[in-house]
């Protein structure tokens, strides 16, 4: 486990000191700290954080400090700055920390939240927010449309301070380059924080009203449920990816030699997609298409898949049914959509001599053209039981030779560019299928590739 860098330690210490200085006026007699409110809010925040510690609840509880910001913002609205600093302390000291080093992370989170809530509370007090909340014995009605103004400004300051502190720790502890450290931090968080501020404001108003703290608690319930559902969503999402992988592993049960091939084709497809500038959603679909392209082998009898030695024409015809089987298997999965076409057509060739339908040129779906290139590339570069894998430049040269007749030159170019840029960390020692690779380059002397891109083959740089 790596230790905390010295710069990070100094930075954490600095932030912690600032937070302590901010909290110093709270116990002085002149501060008139509302201890009851402070204790109640701190206990609430602690109660929200504690279930994450307990292994029984941990699976069903929203994880991450971001979940309970409505409570902290309400504290910033209700308490004077020196007291607001203290609200988050017990909760974040006791909260769950997932990675090493635990102690440093805990101290950091406590100091960061304390300072942020303090700054937010100071902003609110400076803008005269507390007076707009109404209540407080006099039974005054909250000054509502106007009360939104200081609350919104407070949320902005809250976001800003949190993002600045976050960027600082990224730069010092994670050694992220200084100009990248702050990128996107603020833009991502402002929206949610404004929503949290609305809930916090309503909570503060009800807290001050005659109905008291209990009614304020009810405000947080929908937020808490929302966070809980969101955590469930992430868990379900992870489970879904595991299921997709299980589909692929079911193929591995039948055909033990393809291990790893599907995942690598998925990755190569993603590389090409990124190079083509596809948007995030299609890229994800294309990755699934690459991973699932051979799922139809589930439909091919195991005897044929595992056969040693050459296949008879009859057996070859049975194997060539696998794109159609694959299409049939994933038919029910709604979100795959475009990826289904890729699974059906990834053995089509640009000149129309492929299968199952013998499509040619642009009639082959774009996804299928990408997966065909990725599939052939991995089939060539990975080691099989009877031969070693070819080096990456040789495989790219082979692909380029067949571009135009078998593969779409645009996709081959994209792959070559992507390999230049990112390298290929294919586990070259993985044993893959005995099956004829789909991109088995047939020598075609008359047809030279018309493209000259990437003629100088640089060896793929290894990552890691």
């Amino acid at each position: 486990m790596r230790t905390t860098p010295r710069a990070a330690r100094a930075y954490i210490l600095c932030v912690a000191l600032c937070a302590t200085v901010c909290a110093l006026p709270a116990p002085t007699p002149g501060a008139a700290t509302p201890w009851g409110t402070l204790a109640l809010l701190a206990a609430l925040y602690l109660a929200c954080e504690l279930p994450g510690r307990c292994s029984f609840f941990a699976r069903s509880v929203p994880v991450g400090a971001g979940s309970f910001f409505p409570l902290l913002l309400a504290a910033a609205f209700l308490l004077p700055p020196a007291a607001a600093v203290l609200v988050s302390v017990p909760g974040s000291l006791a909260g769950r920390v997932e990675q090493q080093p635990v102690a440093a992370r805990r101290v950091w989170r406590t100091a960061q939240l304390a300072l942020t809530v303090g700054a937010a509370s100071w902003t609110y007090a400076f803008l005269g927010g507390p007076a707009t909340l109404g209540g407080a014995g006099g039974g005054a009605v909250p000054d509502l449309p106007y009360a939104l103004l200081p609350a919104g400004a407070t949320a902005l300051v809250f976001s800003l301070v949190l993002a600045v502190l976050d960027g600082g720790i990224l730069a010092t502890a994670e050694r992220v380059a200084v100009r990248h450290a702050w990128r996107g931090l603020l833009a991502r968080s402002v929206g949610p924080h404004l929503v949290h501020a609305l809930a916090g404001l309503m909570m503060a108003i009800l807290w001050r009203s005659s109905y008291g703290p209990v009614s304020a608690l009810v405000v947080v319930l929908p937020m808490y449920i929302s966070c809980w559902v969101f955590a469930q969503y992430h868990r379900q999402h992870a489970a879904h990816r595991a299921t997709i992988r299980a589909l692929v592993q079911a193929v591995d049960i039948k055909d033990g030699y393809t291990r790893g091939h599907s995942e690598r084709v998925g990755r190569a497809s993603e590389l090409i997609a990124r190079e083509l500038g596809m948007e995030e959603e299609r890229m994800e679909a294309l990755r699934f298409a690459g991973i699932l392209h051979d799922v139809g082998k589930l439909g091919v009898p195991t005897r044929i898949l595992r056969k040693d030695g050459p296949l008879t024409p009859e057996e070859r015809r049975v194997i060539e049914l696998h794109p159609e089987y694959g299409h049939e298997i994933v038919r029910g999965i709604g979100f795959l959509d475009e990826a289904r076409a890729a699974i059906l057509h990834h053995h089509e060739r640009l000149d129309g001599s492929g299968y199952p339908y013998g499509l040619a040129g642009d009639t082959i779906p774009e996804f299928a053209r990408v997966v065909a290139v990725a599939d052939a590339f991995d089939a060539m570069t990975s080691t099989r039981s009877y031969r070693r894998g070819r080096p990456v430049p040789a495989a790219v040269a082979e692909l380029e030779r067949c571009a135009g007749s078998q593969f779409d030159p645009q996709m081959v170019r994209a792959l070559a560019r992507a390999l230049d840029r990112h390298g290929w960390s294919a586990a070259a020692n993985t044993v893959t299928s005995e099956e004829q690779p789909p991109g088995l380059p047939r020598p075609r002397p008359g047809k030279r590739p018309s493209t000259a891109a990437g003629t100088t083959h640089r060896p793929g740089r290894r990552r890691r």
């Binding site: 409505p70 109404g134 209540g135 009605v141 909250p142 509502l144 939104l148 929503v195 609305l198 809930a199 309503m202 108003i205 009800l206 005659s210 109905y211 008291g212 209990v214 009614s215 009810v218 405000v219 319930l221 929908p222 937020m223 449920i225 929302s226 966070c227 559902v229 969101f230 469930q232 969503y233 379900q236 999402h237 992870a238 489970a239 879904h240 595991a242 299921t243 997709i244 992988r245 299980a246 589909l247 592993q249 079911a250 049960i253 039948k254 799922v295 139809g296 589930l298 439909g299 091919v300 009898p301 195991t302 005897r303 049939e328 298997i329 994933v330 029910g332 999965i333 709604g334 979100f335």
Partner: protein, 418 residues
């Protein structure tokens, strides 16, 4: 789905619809005759309910509460006794009028598209809101609620209690108007269980809206909508990924059919019948989805066989072989990221019933039924008879009888031939 268009709805459904209709007509008449008290508030809440109901757009089939904002707004209006510190004067019938009018207005675009909320949904909402208003408004008008609960903590608790009662009332109505022919008890339990999720968020928002408007006037409404809308978005995303997940599991289950190991539609039939039997035996919620996933994937272990079992009917293999296939299946299921309980069920599906968890007992019996049903002259009845003969060791008598009841109710052919 098919049952929804059954020729004559059961009397309970007719009674609920009739009561809602009667209440709405009386309320409209009364409001037209006497005029609207505090038109500003009526308009604001009417708009809120209408907009909330319009959020049904894009809801997924089977979503528990497709319009949480509409529900919360309607409940809040029923429980509104003060606004910005002043007492309000709208009565029960005005509440019903506003809510019913807003529902009708919001259903116009939906109906034009041919996908309006069913009459039962509207009737349930009108009756539940009427119930809440009847409980609260007279107490508030006569000043009794103030005398009993004051204007502080106890009043807030009183509102929360009232909303819990209303939720209970709506759950009973939902169970009464359910379209599936199932015993009332389990249906009601399903409805109550569903309340914990978005139901509690709706109730909480309803209570807070009533309190918030009482303190801060109508400005509290837009402020409180945002968190609830966020909850709705979260629930939608969750439901979407859940659907995809089920589709993927179903595809994985179908792979044995495409590989030629099991007959066409076997996994789906076993899953549907197993869940029906599970419900009959009182399973619900997570237990039921464990059962469903296990039933879908129970044959996945056959993928590791080099040669298919004839017709995929494992029920007639030697017990040791059955168990081996079950263990192989469990190994695949463990990789899918589903609850490990599913893998356990798949692994134990071939054990004698006394050593099995309930879900595995159900999967075993239903799988055997589906395997045996197709063969010989016996058909479904013969298959059931064979299961009954095996109740000494293999099949639990309780499960077999539940299966027989489900089959008798659904018709032996309609469920079986799927």
């Amino acid at each position: 789905m098919t049952l929804r268009y059954a020729p004559a709805p059961p009397p309970a459904v007719l009674a609920v619809r009739g009561a809602a209709m009667l209440l709405a007509v009386v309320a409209f008449g009364h409001t037209l005759w006497n005029g609207v008290a505090e038109p500003g508030h009526a308009l604001a809440f009417g708009v809120l309910v209408t907009v909330g109901e319009l959020a049904r757009w894009g809801s997924l089939p089977g979503e528990r509460e497709p319009a949480p904002l509409g529900a919360a707004g309607a409940l809040a209006y029923a429980l509104l006794g003060r606004s910005g510190g002043e007492a309000t004067t709208h009565g029960v019938l005005q509440v019903v009028t506003v809510v019913a009018a807003a529902q009708l207005l919001a259903s116009v675009p939906h109906t034009a598209r041919g996908s309006g909320p069913g009459p039962d949904l509207v009737a349930r909402r009108v009756l539940a809101v009427g119930f809440a208003a009847v409980c609260f408004q007279p107490l508030s008008h006569s000043g009794r609620s103030e005398r009993w609960f004051g204007e502080g903590l106890y009043f807030a608790l009183f509102l929360v209690l009232l909303l819990a009662l209303t939720a209970l009332c709506e759950a009973v109505l939902a169970a009464l108007t359910a379209t599936t022919p199932r015993p009332f008890g389990p249906l009601l339990r399903d409805e109550l269980r569903a309340l914990i999720g978005i139901g509690s968020a709706v109730c909480a928002t309803g209570a807070v809206m009533a309190l918030g408007v009482a303190v801060a006037g109508l400005w509290a409404l837009p402020l409180l909508c945002v968190p609830l809308l966020l909850t709705q978005v979260s629930f939608r995303r969750y439901a979407a990924v859940r659907t995809t997940y089920r589709q993927t599991i179903a595809s994985l289950a179908r792979s044995t059919e495409i590989a030629g190991y099991t007959p066409h539609g076997h996994a789906r039939r076993v899953a549907e019948l197993s869940t029906a039997v599970g419900r009959e035996l009182g399973l619900a919620g997570p237990e039921l989805s464990v059962l469903e996933y296990a039933a879908l994937m129970h044959d996945i272990g056959q993928l590791s066989l080099v040669d298919p079992v004839p017709d995929g009917a494992t029920a007639r293999l030697p017990a040791a072989e059955q168990r081996r296939i079950a263990l192989l299946g469990g190994a695949v299921v463990r990789q899918t990221g589903v609850d490990t309980a599913v893998a356990v069920v798949v692994e134990q599906q071939a054990d004698p019933y006394r050593e099995q968890p309930t879900a595995a007992r159900i999967v075993r019996a239903v799988n055997a039924y589906d395997d045996l049903r197709g063969e010989g002259a016996g058909g479904p009845l013969g298959a059931l008879e064979q299961l009954r003969l095996g109740t000494g060791r293999d099949y639990q008598p309780l499960v077999v009888e539940a299966l027989a009841r489900v089959l008798a109710r659904g018709g032996l052919t309609s469920v079986g031939s799927g």
